[in-house]
Structure formats: structure tokens, C-alpha cells
Symmetry: C2
């Protein structure tokens, strides 16, 4: 949790730097709100038992609840972030940070704006966060659903198979082309020729192909892609972003730009071990599905996959000891019968806003008090003794060296049985 808190702080700072506010939505949604939004993955949704009243499910992501929230509250533009848990009845893989309950950190921009500016800002945000978290090299793949759909049309994929073929193409980062083709042809009934053509495009990346230029969709996607990269240049992130025609993303609701961030340099295979650490895209049709009049609110957003990031940082942290509390000083006693004096002093420290504790025993041994400091990383110990109390003093020691602190920020004075703490500037 100590590591997680740091990661959340980095992410929230970035979201706030980009002017986002935060919202909260319930952990459950009406079952019907989630139905038909996630394609093949809908089977992974957790349902609540019917105990009378509405049929409810646990949220599967934060995007659909966000779209439902916008439509319900008739909000047509907002920049918001939301950090919360989502639920999937999937097979967990603990070492890779895949759980059934996991955090998502989402940033989304809703509203009618000039093309590609908010999209570029989302990519800038991914780049800022992954850079600040110090996870080593990373790269962000981008593509556009319109380019993919244009390519599918050119290759002869029937319209009603676009989304399901898209979700097969998405598996290219985990499966070889042969297996992907097999799934297209044998499971999804695509013709062998169409599959081979798709293979040509996504593996050889035939963007300048004359057939592609016949697809209006693909052309719109490609021209927006150029615009996007010009903004990315201004946002100073072009070194991190690569166009990748094989990127497809699994979810149904994307309508334009899509992206996915991977650790490792572009093209490196070792990045496969953690998979993507962030992903998102444009979904201009989702809010309209929840609006009674079908009013559309264009949206683009990104979700940071913090669980994978946690698991990387937790492995890194195993070597060093991570403190789980922030206590600055332990109030200890060297002799017996000083409980009252300890409690009085710790109270003064709390009054002064200092993080302090004292052991809950009437007569703890000095050694066990010092051991507690060492175990939980408390840097300072204020030791009460009868002699010191008589002299109106408290000795403050650095736990690591046992040396008395003379030049400390915290000055402890005991005068006339009244103990006072004064903070003074170093």
C-alpha cells in the first residue's frame, strides 16, 4: 500500500496538472447498462444476486459508467479522472498483476472540440506518467479504428464481422500470425483470402497501398493520424509514440484513435512479459447509447494499468525496506512509571501536528522501544527519564546512531512539569 500510494500520487498530480476534476460512481451499475458494451468479454461481468429491486452488476471498467454519468447528468464537456476498482471474472495471474478486482486510473476528455487536440493530450499524459514513475524505457503504439475498418473493408471482411475480426487482430501481441489467421478463418468464418490480405497489411504495414486510398474511412483516419503527430511534436512526445497498424484493442466501443503503452523500447520482445501498462482511445458513440434522445458526446480517454505497474515496483522494492508508517518520533521512557509523562508528551506532539507514537505498555523496556523504532523505521526517539524530567529536559536521539540530536527541527522543552514542543527552523 505504501508503494501504491506513491504511484497514485504521481498519477493524480499529473491528472490535476492537466486540469482534470474527479468524479465517483457506484461500484455497481444496472445490469442493462453494461450489456452489449464489451463484446466477447461480457461473460466476465460479475452479477449481484436478485434480492428484490433492480438487477445489478459490478462495473467492468470506468468508461461505461462515465458515459452513463454524462448522459444522465446531461454533461456535454468535462475533463475528469477517476481512480477506482473494477471487476472481471477472469483467470487471475498474480505475478503479472492480473486480478479479478483491480484498480483503474482513468483520464477522459468529453466534449465537441477540434480534432486530435484532446487525443494528443491523452498521449502526452501517458508519457508524463510512465516517465515520472521511472519504469525504464517505454513506447506507445497508436492506430485508428477507422484505418482498421477501412482495411477490413478493402480486404473484403463483411461489415458485421468488423468488431469480432478486430478483437482477433488484437491478439497479435500474444499469438503468432498463423494462430490469429486460424481463429479468423476457422472460428470466425472469414475467407482465407481476406485473412491473408489482412495479414499482408498488418505484418508488412502497407499503408501507402493504392487500395487503402479508396477507403474514405481509412483516409480520414490517416489524415487525422498526421494531424495527431503534428500535435504530439508540439507536446514533445513523438520519440515515445509509434504508429502500429496491428494494434486493434479488444473493446467494442472505440471509434477513432486507439493506443496502448508498453514497457521496453519499440520492437523489443521482452516487453511482452508485462504486456500493456496503459491503453485507451476515442469513443464517440458511447454516451449517445445512454441518452434517451441519442445525443452524442465525443470522448477520448486513457486508462493506466496500475496493477502491472505495482507488481513491477513491488518487485523492485523487495531489496530495499519500504516504510509503511510515517511516524517521526517515538516517545519512550528509560525508567518505570513514566506512562503519564509519555502520554502527556505524545499529546503535545500531536497538538503540534507531529507524527508521534508511544508504546501501549505501562512499563516497556527501553530496548523493546528502540527495536520498535528500528523495525518500523522511526528516525527519532524522545527518551524520558526521571533525571531529565527533574531538569525539565527530554533527550532526543537519532535511532540509527543513538546520538543525541542537538540541531533538530523539533525542540522539546519540559518546564514546570508542563511539556511543550516547539518547531523551529533548521
Amino acid at each position: 500500500m505504501a508503494i501504491r500510494e506513491k504511484v497514485f500520487n504521481t498519477i493524480v498530480s499529473c491528472f490535476k496538472r492537466h486540469g482534470a476534476e474527479t468524479i465517483d460512481t457506484p461500484v455497481f451499475e444496472l445490469k442493462e447498462t453494461l450489456t452489449g458494451k464489451y463484446g466477447e468479454d461480457s461473460k466476465l461481468i460479475y452479477d449481484l444476486k436478485d434480492q428484490g429491486g433492480e438487477l445489478l452488476s459490478l462495473r467492468y471498467d470506468l468508461t461505461v459508467p462515465f458515459a452513463r454519468f454524462l448522459a444522465m447528468n446531461k454533461i456535454s464537456n468535462i475533463k475528469r479522472y477517476h481512480i477506482a476498482k473494477v471487476y472481471r471474472r477472469d483467470n487471475p495471474a498474480m505475478t503479472r498483476g492480473r486480478y479479478r478486482e483491480f484498480y483503474q486510473c482513468d483520464f477522459d476528455i468529453a466534449g465537441h472540440y477540434d480534432p486530435m487536440i484532446p487525443d494528443a493530450e491523452c498521449l502526452r499524459i501517458v508519457s508524463e506518467i510512465l516517465g515520472e514513475l521511472d519504469l525504464g524505457d517505454f513506447h506507445i503504439k497508436v492506430n485508428d479504428r477507422r484505418i482498421l475498418d477501412g482495411m477490413f473493408a478493402v480486404c473484403g471482411v463483411p461489415d458485421d464481422k468488423f468488431r469480432t475480426i478486430c478483437s482477433t487482430v488484437d491478439k497479435l501481441d500474444k499469438m503468432c500470425w498463423e494462430d490469429v489467421k486460424n481463429e479468423m478463418v476457422k472460428e470466425k468464418g472469414l475467407s482465407e483470402e481476406a485473412a491473408d490480405m489482412i495479414g499482408q497489411y498488418v505484418t508488412v504495414r502497407l499503408l501507402e497501398d493504392p487500395k487503402m486510398s479508396q477507403s474514405k474511412q481509412a483516409c480520414a483516419g490517416l489524415s487525422d493520424m498526421k494531424q495527431l503527430f503534428s500535435y504530439l511534436e508540439l507536446f514533445q512526445v513523438t520519440d515515445k509514440v509509434v504508429f502500429d497498424l496491428s494494434l486493434a484493442r479488444g473493446l467494442d466501443y472505440y471509434t477513432g484513435v486507439i493506443y496502448e503503452a508498453m514497457l521496453g523500447p519499440a520492437g523489443a520482445e521482452e516487453s511482452l512479459s508485462v504486456g500493456s501498462v496503459a491503453g485507451g482511445g476515442r469513443y464517440d458513440g458511447l454516451v449517445g447509447m445512454f441518452d434517451p434522445k441519442g445525443r452524442a458526446v465525443p470522448c477520448v480517454g486513457v486508462s493506466i494499468g496500475v496493477e502491472r505497474i505495482f507488481s513491477i515496483l513491488e518487485q523492485k522494492a523487495e531489496a530495499e525496506k519500504v516504510r509503511t508508517t510515517e511516524v517521526q518520533v517515538l516517545v519512550a521512557s528509560a525508567q518505570k512509571n513514566l506512562l503519564e509523562e509519555r502520554l502527556r508528551l505524545v499529546t503535545e506532539l500531536w497538538n503540534a501536528g507531529i507524527k508521534a507514537e508511544s508504546m501501549f505498555k505501562k512499563n516497556p523496556k527501553l530496548l523493546s522501544q528502540l527495536q520498535h523504532c528500528e523495525e518500523s523505521g522511526i528516525p527519532l526517539v524522545a527518551i524520558l527519564g526521571e533525571q531529565e524530567l527533574k531538569n525539565g529536559m527530554v533527550k532526543l536521539r537519532t535511532v540509527a546512531t543513538r546520538e543525541e540530536v542537538r540541531d533538530s527541527c523539533v525542540c522539546v522543552c519540559v518546564c514546570n512539569s508542563l511539556i511543550a514542543i516547539k518547531s523551529r527552523q533548521c
Copy 2:
């Protein structure tokens, strides 16, 4: 959410000042973990649908999951806080901050310690938090389950009716004595004499009664209560805490000291409108219920009822405008065709860690840019114009007065078409 964030920050700061670390547990628990822990309120538990695998329920509070966590991980002492949502299929009362999904902010101390020291610290924490949140006057009622049980025994309540009579006594803050007595006698089958005797004790507060001194339990409770108040004196909170024999608390698992914080001065009736804003107590038997060998870990804790606090602070805040974002400066332009320059400048601001935004339009009107600042409370606007760009300058204005900022912390320099931001000390 902006108000909530402030409340959470105050609460977390206090928990950390008292040396707590934080833990996280899943939103669902095995159904059997929750069974038999909440007495009459168990009917309010949300269950998940049986989709194969374990039978799960949504957590009802954070205390039972904490006890389960301690037993599973064989932790015998910890000071932890946990801020998370819990779920109850109850009738919501929105204006009073009663929802089916709501936050709890729990602080608990687990471990074998000398009596009443951790209990007193919990009361100190409630007092610190309610004081810092600036909610006006408040008071904390305390009692002890052993005193209540001793009283029940003295009054002739059969052992197996202690908990259910206890939960009826707990309703004394919402119902008059006649109705409480009625429930005891007619619904729960207690004799009229026993009910009348209880009434005497809880309404007249007959603590010094000779019959009470015959009950070992009550005596132990009363002597610990004296000890507790001596520690509360050292912790400087006796002015906030009152002993109240009619305090019972609804939950089954308490075994010792119990407490509940109410807004308003002690004895005032208007405090009833929001009810309690914090509550807790000692539960020494709960962890043992989850340990295969029944090993007990004594615990004491407190839960802050933040939803009620939110609803009070939200009502207060309705008069003043609350900012929902933290943007410091909007990068605007006075002329057309300056999108690139705006994006370049906002990038430099982000690079410098400054919270900044620019509108997502290619050519926004200056007026609409200034309106956006006013609506969302952005204090500064950096205005780009062709003349200024030629001179290598950006004008920084205070939005409220439209005046140029000369002595600002942020100094914006544009030189050779390269825009740089330098922070300088005020």
C-alpha cells in the same frame, strides 16, 4: 468530490499522525465470513449471484474484513486505517447522508496491550478529526458492553437475550422509552419487570447502585471506565467525552468500551438530526472467530461516518463556489492561428510542473477563454498575441482584475520562438 477530498485529507493526516499504516481488502468477502457477525442487520447484506465458484457478498463494514485479514495473515499487532466503501441494502435517506453504498474511514489498533491506552487513543482521534473538520460543537458518548451486560444480568435478562435487548436499548436515541420498552416486552419477550428495571438504570443512570456492584462484569467495566478517563485527561479530551449508560451500539461483536460521537453539545436535542458521525469500540473476540485455532487478537477501533459529514459540509458549501480543478493558468490567445504557440507554451508549463490548460479549439474567442477561467476559477491567464510573440513576451494577467501580473512567481519568457517558463521566488 472536491469537498470529499479535503475531508479525506484531514482524516488521513490524523491517522498518519497517530502512526497508522493502511491496508486494502477486496470489496467482496466469502459469504460465510460475514454470516453471524452483524446480528439483526445481516438481512441488509448484498450477495453476489452464484456464477460458479465461491459464494460472495459485498462487505458490510471494514471491521469484519479487518479481523479476517488479521487471522489469515497471522498478524497479532498492527495500527491500521482503511478508507473504503461498504454496502447495505437499507432504505437510503439522501439528505441525511444515508446511502446503500457509502464510505467508512476506519482506524483500529490490534494487539495485546495494557488496558484502555489504545481505547483512549481512539477517542483522542475522533476528537482531533471532528475538531479539525470544523463542524461546530460535538461530544462523544462512551459506555462499556460489560457494564451493560452486568446491568442486564442484575435486571434479570436471560443470557441469550443480552445482544437482542442491547440492540433495542441502542434505539433510545431515535425512539422514546415507552416504544423501546414495548419492543423489549412485546417483540422480544422480556418480562415487564426486567424492562422497567433497565429503564430505571438507563434513564436515571443508577451507577452507584448496590446491585450493580454485585456484578463482576459491571465492576470490571466501571473500573476500566475510570482508567479510561484518566488517560483521556492526559490526552486533553475529557471536555468532549461523556459517560452514557444508555449507549448500546447495534453490532454484536463489541466486548468492552463502546462510543459514539454526536454533533452539538452534550444533551442537546438538535444533534439528533444528523445522528452519530463516528462510532466504535472494543471487539476482542472477532479475530479469534476466523483463526482455525481460535487465537484471540484484542482490537479496538473507530469508524468515521464521513457521508454525514459530507452532507453537512456540502450544505455549508452551497453558498460559496467550490473549485473542482486546480488549474493555475490558462494559456490563451488574442488572435487567430496561434494554436501551435499555445500548445508549445502549455507543454513548457507542464514540463515545469505547473497546472495549466489551453482550450481544445483552433481559434477560440478571447472572451470565451476568459469566461472559462471565471467559470472554473482559474486565477491567471497567459495571453499570446502576435505583437507579444514578436517581442518575445507573453502577458500574464490576473483573471479577476484583468490586470497584468508583474510580480508573479511564474515568469514567462519567449525568446527566438522558443518559449520557456522559469519559476522564480517571490
